[in-house]
């Protein structure tokens, strides 16, 4: 059983929902982003999405765009990021680490990508601009290494298409809560909740909801109809206020955001 499966199985046993964080590797710098992730794990975050910074992050709103820009100033490579993940995995082998980014950065490692992912104990990939039609070859190579390709489903995905996506999915499903970029304002509606419940009927895979979840109330609402929530922009905004002389303050603020969200969804 994969790490990701185990996490959801254990949560289910305790009747709990997953809290998933997204932060950008290298933001504000590689070392600090590692500390931030370690702190998330200590605070009880269930799955970590590690953002791979890209020069052209088309699906991101202003907060996460700035996070990518800050990280790129540090000229870190995808291999640096994977090595950071391995260090974290050595101390926290059971917490799944999932790389989330854009196709062009993953392509840059060519055929080495798959071995490096395995070697650095990466549990899964989310590739924002790789819809399933384009992904066959890539998927095979990932699955050969037991690495999950986490699929995204959006408010505009048709039912027939969801069936096709599900047929080649593993790990969990990421439901994009809204039509828009990351960090947009999320309006909770019956329609949204019903849609998640509908998709749940189509699959045994866990389904998590992301985009626009910034407070405990929204997190709670969304966790009730799903298996977990992803929070990103809220954290990346906070990280944007990083002051190297006041590292503790950032960690305290992040900790309080996390504990508030955890309370919301438990």
């Amino acid at each position: 059983m994969s790490n990701i499966e185990k996490v959801f199985k254990n949560l289910k046993k305790d009747n709990k929902k997953a809290l998933i964080t997204y932060s950008v590797a290298g933001d504000p710098d590689l070392e600090s982003s590692e500390k931030i992730i370690r702190n998330f794990i200590l605070e009880g975050v269930d799955i970590i999405e590690v953002g791979v910074p890209f020069s052209d992050p088309m699906a991101e709103g202003p907060s996460i765009q700035l996070g990518h820009e800050r990280a790129l100033k540090n000229k870190i490579s995808l291999l640096d990021i994977m090595q950071m993940c391995l260090k974290i995995k050595n101390d926290h082998p059971n917490t799944p680490l999932v790389l989330m980014g854009y196709m062009n950065n993953f392509l840059s490692l060519k055929e080495n990508l798959f071995d490096e992912l395995k070697k650095n104990k990466i549990d899964g990939l989310i590739i924002v601009d790789l819809p399933y039609v384009e992904s066959n070859e890539f998927l095979k190579k990932l699955n050969d290494k037991d690495i999950d390709l986490i699929r995204l489903i959006s408010p505009t995905t048709t039912k027939e298409r969801i069936d096709k996506i599900l047929a080649s999915s593993s790990g969990y499903l990421y439901y994009i809560s809204l039509k828009g970029v990351t960090g947009s304002e999320l309006k909770i509606s019956d329609e949204l909740e019903n849609r998640v419940l509908e998709i749940k009927k189509q699959t045994k895979l866990p389904i998590v909801v992301g985009f626009g979840i910034k407070d405990a109330k929204t997190a709670k609402k969304m966790s009730l109809c799903s298996d977990g929530v992803v929070v990103g922009s809220k954290l990346v905004d906070e990280i944007g206020s990083f002051n190297p002389n006041k590292e503790n303050i950032l960690n305290q603020n992040l900790t309080s955001i996390i504990s508030e969200l955890k309370e919301g969804i438990s």
Partner: protein, 401 residues
């Protein structure tokens, strides 16, 4: 290679290994809708008649094929002809595409039009058709381009469009395209995104090529009439590649016709300061397509440099990547300096002021024409007029207007 077995894009939107649909899941349904609608209207006689009528009465087609006699004599070699897309309404080839796409948008019931623009020519061409059809229009344009193409910014505003300045990334065309994609994902239900070149996810490269093919189709007729044969060489500048694809596509199976695309060489292809991915790039994925890109080892997109805003783009349409690798089209580059030189040449000897983008194609014609036989016929796609560039040329040359 003959066009009998040239049938691209394939059903997955690929030109060989290039192209595809690398976009976020939310946009897939919009692309599917566009593809279906396009397949339908392609066979719809009344739709095609409407496009034809608009091209004739709104755009002013056909555009003339003009003999640049004095320039030819000065260069002393091949006969140079110009396909006068600069005479189109709004001053460039870009309107051939927007006239068709706005009708597609109406067919799909979309009320809101968005577009990216670099030189502002596509923005103006989009704003014009949106005004004519009474649709809301938002144009995304990089801060740097807003500055160097200011006359076009005002034209768009006069035409009723909202111009959104984009100051992320390199503040040029690629960033305007990112921002347009972000808007589209947010307003996907009521918005049609009119991409301005043969770039982006399938079906855009195909749609934009097809609407621009009128240029090559006319050239075939005109050259049969004027010369009794096809030209020996056709030259076009390549940014995203729409004016080039439009004039090349109808000639792909005519192997006697050399097709030459000219990219922006900036300060020189060896300097790294350029926008010539086909001359000095590598394969990657950006803006929904697999194609040649200017990128570093990590897959980060590099900032590009060109004196012309419309060529200042790190990618290129996927069909050009295919045609490069297959060898059917040859791609060259012209530097800023060579382009400026030809800009002045054509203006002074022919009384035609070309766009700086177009001047890159002219620069290559100037380079090769003197060594060619006097009987050879060389056609340059004069993709646009240069009024928009006057302030920028003055600035580059240290003058103020």
């Amino acid at each position: 290679m003959s066009k009998e077995n040239y049938d691209f894009p394939d059903k997955d939107g690929r030109f060989g290994e290039f192209g595809g649909k690398y976009v976020s899941e939310t946009l897939i349904s919009a692309l599917d809708e566009l593809e279906c609608t396009y397949e339908e209207v392609k066979k719809d006689k009344s739709f095609l008649a409407e496009v034809k009528n608009d091209l004739e009465t709104f755009v002013g087609r056909p555009s003339p094929l003009y003999f640049a006699q004095r320039w030819t004599e000065n260069l002393g070699g091949a006969k140079i002809y110009l396909k006068r897309e600069d005479l189109n309404h709004t001053g460039a080839h870009k309107i051939n595409n927007t006239v068709g796409q706005v009708l597609l948008a109406k067919k799909m019931g979309k009320k809101r039009i968005i577009a990216e623009t670099g030189a502002g020519q596509h923005g103006v061409a989009t704003a014009a058709v949106a005004a004519r059809h009474g649709l809301e229009c938002i144009i995304f344009m990089g801060d740097e381009d807003i500055e160097r193409q200011s006359p076009n910014v005002y034209r768009m505003k006069l035409l009723g469009a909202t111009v959104c300045s984009v100051n992320s990334g390199t503040k040029t065309l690629k960033d305007a395209m990112n921002e347009a994609m972000r808007d589209w994902v947010t307003n996907v239900d009521d918005t049609h995104y009119i991409i301005g070149s043969v770039a982006g996810p399938h079906p855009y490269p195909q749609i934009v090529r097809d609407f621009n093919s009128i240029v090559g189709i006319e050239l075939k007729d005109q050259s049969r009439g004027l010369f009794g044969r096809y030209p020996d060489k056709i030259i076009a500048c390549v940014g995203g590649g729409s004016n080039a694809m439009g004039i090349f596509y109808p000639f792909l199976k005519d192997n006697s016709v050399d097709l030459i695309g000219v990219e922006a060489g900036g300060s020189g292809v060896d300097s790294g300061m350029h926008a010539a991915p086909l001359s000095d790039g590598s394969i990657g994925v950006l803006h929904g397509m697999k194609t040649y890109l200017m990128q570093d080892q990590e897959g980060q997109i590099l900032s590009t440099h060109s004196v012309s805003a419309g060529l200042d783009y790190p990618g290129v349409g996927p069909e050009h990547s295919y045609l490069r690798d297959s060898g059917r089209v040859v791609y060259e580059a012209a530097t800023d300096e060579e382009a400026l030189d030809s800009f002045h040449d054509l203006t002074k000897t022919e009384g035609i002021m070309p766009a700086l983008e177009t001047a890159h194609a002219l620069a290559y014609a100037k380079k090769i024409a003197p060594d060619l036989d006097k009987e050879e016929i060389l056609v340059v796609n004069l993709s646009g007029r240069g009024d928009k560039d006057m302030a920028n040329v003055a600035k580059v040359e240290g003058l103020t207007l």
